[in-house]
Symmetry: C2
Subunit: 587 residues, 2 copies
């Protein structure tokens, strides 16, 4: 059997940074070549970044992407890397398709470029376009209809893109009939809790269906709200795991494979509407060499991978939007404390400024727990008491009750924004968790203020779990635990009136989070949840809160998505609706 | 030729209010029956509301919609309206399709129910699913594959839904071969500037292709950000306009038609993949009667229809979210002045509270123009000077420059929110225009605060035009012009520092709005705009501002969409991108 050394590059792409992304491909190609690889594969949309949104419909951007790919091919050859086959995802357009109502303007495609000897040998576009969850690809792309089969060092390598693996039919279904020796898929597959096993199962199943080995390369890093976790892998024809790259690490992952020799199938066959697009790039097998033992990276624990997603998302959002510092309000509660710990891991404590804003209702421990957090992590702590500001407002606008509670939260937010605006470029982090977002238990323009919200997709019970996990991890490493134990153990309170507790307004979080998971994540009805044994009044109260909170959720800053059912563009309710009562834009 | 009296009901639907919407259908059916109609058609999704978002993926909601349609059929028969054929849009699901990756969960469909004699005779689903602009239908619906042809009073009536008219192929292309005497289309087609002629041209073209008359019924009213304008119409087989309903008015529009007798085509034919679904509801023509002269409503002028869209959108958002009062900050400038005039027309001046927040930088005329506005319209004016509040902040957080300018804007917003929160349920209106939104010339959590933004899709130059038009309209009617002339004529200023003018930061609005229309509305590149004769530096500066302002736009409240290129979910850029510099979430 011919041998093939392939490089799978888990790259961290910046959306729209065509020059920077292409430069990174060139650097990785140098490494892969030096390392003896015959083939280097980069992820889906590695030249452009994945969530390009409306840039896909802007002709000047599509042209720039196509030019960047052509220039990359030339630069690779000019620097002596012409023999290396480089497969890279980018944005191109279909020259055959004309604009018409219902099709994306300019006919853009989510495509792969096959680069060899200074030229783009062929391109192929994703066939199955996902349009659920975080994906909106029918808005942006035309589907492809080909299956490229590239003979590389005497091996037939078939090529497909991401969703083509997940849905039945299309190019992947044609791989067996096309007689490929390796199915290579390039991906931009976002992290999702517990998704890793699904991916391995999927790769194993498709490898068995295709009757050949399967190589899977994925993006890594944060791109707006998406967080990619890498997790590139290779499975054998029987579905057995041969190699697996580390999660959340930018790396060039090299794998040696023994693959069947190309069989010389007829050219240009068509299989169930998919045209097989054959190119012989190098027919001769590579002379035999000593293969390296494959690497199978250990998987992260559930908590470790969630933590990595929060840290990665925060780090890349801050870095890619060009911020130097992050500011956040610190109440001494567990949400802002955990957010601060994420921020310190993401950008370094020296770039984190915590602001304590004690009021007349603040407890002593809100201050001491905050000071303890600063001492443990090394973040900079500043204190701006808000009592005189609130007093000035109540002089001008005498209000009480909920209006006064909201007022305090907003007075704090104005302070954070003033400090951040005065230290440009910097960003304010919002500290709300998913349970709060779901129920609307927060103040619009108050604690909801900021440019990024690291824990917005983390339910409160998981907030506590992650806090304990992060402390245990520190102890395991012999480091100072970042999170004051008292912040984990005390009962949660917004401290906006004397003696206030979250449980005055919400069910206990262990109950609330289960009901929310059923209603929000699983779309189950109140009747079904009640049938599980929950109190009807409680369930209906929670659902009413969720439905009414949609406006607040839409105004919330972006944050790293870690569940398949994160709030955001991909999950939303109508606002002016009577399905449940969801009238109020604010409380 | 048989005669047929048809009722086209331009209804104002509330999303999710199944009981209320069904009750309205029943009431309209009573009117249509009393008026002698044989057929009553209601718009697409008239039972559920059009933008149901994720409710379409919630099984309990789909089941509730199906039950509401079945109950409506029974109530119609029970109240003696069983002989009237009622065609109404609703949400149902495909019983044949199983859930699989890539298809909407629960197999929902955007469907029409044909109700006769107490039962749903047949249903059919929209075939072409739009997924551009404000539409995301691939996320939510499965496509239909049938063309119902219903014999009603001896006339064959074919039925199609909205987008099936706009795209080629599908059920509408099968109407001629199916031999229909009338093509009835039910629609949820949002208002768009200058779209009315497009609709008439489209109806005329499809009528000629189908070789029969075409009746078009559309929603009216605001549903979240969408505003529907009605504009229902009937055209003859040659494309000639026979009847047209008024824009922006909820009405039952009745039309008498002479139509060809049903020809007895074979049952259950299939034409290009579309199954013709025939049902004879009543074979006998109606005895001859004296037809009424058709009504062809006069079209509104460009400015009148835009104004109607703003007033309709604002009125319905406020009403459907259950607010009693609206609050807005009044600076004396044209944007807040025009917004106040829209609000007074929408909900009545007695429900509008304007808040004046003079600062040390406010001009005298900012106060006098505001008082003049209140006197002209009758809105309630309250004054809360902000100098002491700003002084208290600058004591606690000494900042200057842009940070101080933003601080003032935010101090005002906290006052508005406190007053609104203290008068529950009420809503704050944001007063920004499209030119500001495009360039990011506003303060996040400052003037951008609110639950609805009536003029967010109106460029500044059009703001002035509408102000002059509204005053002229008042004079035409012999009423007091609502808008102080000085507010229209003075140079625009944010008044956040001494002598500040918008032109310190922005190009003159007559130039800016043309460049924005090219870059935002037409997706043209900087090179193309420069080639039109604009200064390169100016064009690049404007584009940089637009690209950087994406975060602020996403945080802006919803507002009535009046252009095909409104900012919002349907038009957005990646935030963490280098295509242009768009790093800052705020400045």
């Amino acid at each position: 059997m011919p041998q093939l050394r392939i490089g799978l590059a888990q790259t961290n792409t910046t959306v729209g940074d065509l020059d920077g992304n292409a430069g990174r491909v060139l650097e990785l190609a140098r490494q892969a070549h030096a390392d003896g690889a015959a083939l280097l594969a980069l992820p889906e949309m590695a030249l452009t970044g994945y969530p390009v949104e409306d840039l896909a419909l802007r002709t000047s951007f599509v042209v720039a992407s196509e030019q960047a790919a052509a220039a990359l091919a030339k630069r690779l050859a000019d620097t002596g890397l012409g023999e290396l086959v480089v497969i890279v995802g980018f944005l191109d357009h279909s020259a055959e398709s004309a604009n018409r109502v219902g099709l994306p303007k300019g006919s853009p495609r989510d495509a792969a470029a096959v680069i060899h000897r200074g030229a783009i040998v062929t391109t192929s576009a994703k066939h199955h376009l996902p349009n659920y969850g975080v994906f909106d690809e029918f808005r942006y792309f035309l589907p492809g209809t080909t299956l490229p089969v590239l003979t590389i060092a005497g091996v037939d390598v078939a090529l497909a893109i991401c969703e083509d693996l997940w849905q039945d039919g299309g190019p992947v279904a044609a791989v067996r009939a096309a007689g490929a020796g390796l199915l290579l898929t390039i991906n931009a597959s976002p992290y999702e809790r517990d998704k890793d096993d699904t991916r391995l199962e999927l790769c194993a199943r498709r490898a068995r269906e295709a009757g050949c080995a399967l190589a899977y390369v994925n993006q890594v890093g944060g791109q707006d709200e998406l967080v990619f976790d890498g997790d590139s892998m290779v499975v054998g024809p029987g579905g057995e795991l041969l190699a697996r790259a580390p999660q959340f690490e930018e790396t060039l992952f090299t794998v040696d494979l023994d693959l069947p020799a190309a069989t010389g199938h007829p050219n240009d066959t068509e299989i169930d509407g998919i045209r097989v697009d054959r190119h012989v790039l190098s027919a001769e097998p590579i002379p035999a060499y000593d293969a390296r033992a494959p690497q199978i990276s250990a998987r992260l624990s559930d908590h470790a991978e969630i933590w990595a997603a929060l840290v990665t998302g925060t780090r890349d959002y801050v870095r890619k939007t060009g911020q130097r510092k992050v500011y956040l309000g610190l109440s001494g509660g567990i949400d802002s404390t955990l957010t601060a710990a994420v921020a310190c891991d993401a950008v370094g404590a020296e770039n984190v400024i915590g602001i304590s804003n004690p009021s007349r209702y603040s407890t002593d421990h809100s201050v001491t727990d905050t000071e303890d957090l600063a001492a443990r992590t090394g973040l900079e702590l500043r204190s701006v008491p808000i009592a005189p500001l609130v007093a000035a407002y109540l002089d001008a606008v005498p209000v009480g009750g909920l209006a006064e509670e909201n007022l305090q939260a907003r007075v704090r937010a104005v302070v954070w924004m003033a400090m951040s605006n005065d230290d440009n470029p910097s960003i304010v982090l919002a500290c709300g968790n998913k349970s709060e977002l779901a129920t609307g238990y927060s103040t619009l323009y108050g604690d909801a203020v900021g440019g990024y919200a690291p824990i917005k997709d983390i339910p409160k019970t998981l907030v506590w779990e992650l806090a304990r996990w992060r402390n245990a991890e520190a102890e395991r490493r012999g480091e100072t635990a970042p999170i004051p134990v008292h912040a984990i153990e005390k009962p949660p309170s917004a401290e906006l009136r004397p003696g206030q507790l979250d449980t005055d307004s919400l069910p206990p979080y262990d109950v609330l989070d289960v009901v929310l998971a059923q209603y929000v994540d699983r779309d189950r009805s109140s009747a079904e949840i009640v049938a599980d044994g929950f109190d009807r009044g409680l369930v209906e109260r929670v659902i009413r809160m969720v439905d009414r909170a949609e406006y607040k959720r839409r105004q919330y800053p972006p944050g790293p998505k870690v569940s398949g059912k994160a709030f955001g563009r991909d999950r939303r309710l109508p606002i002016a609706s009577r399905w449940q009562e969801r009238a109020q834009p604010d409380r």
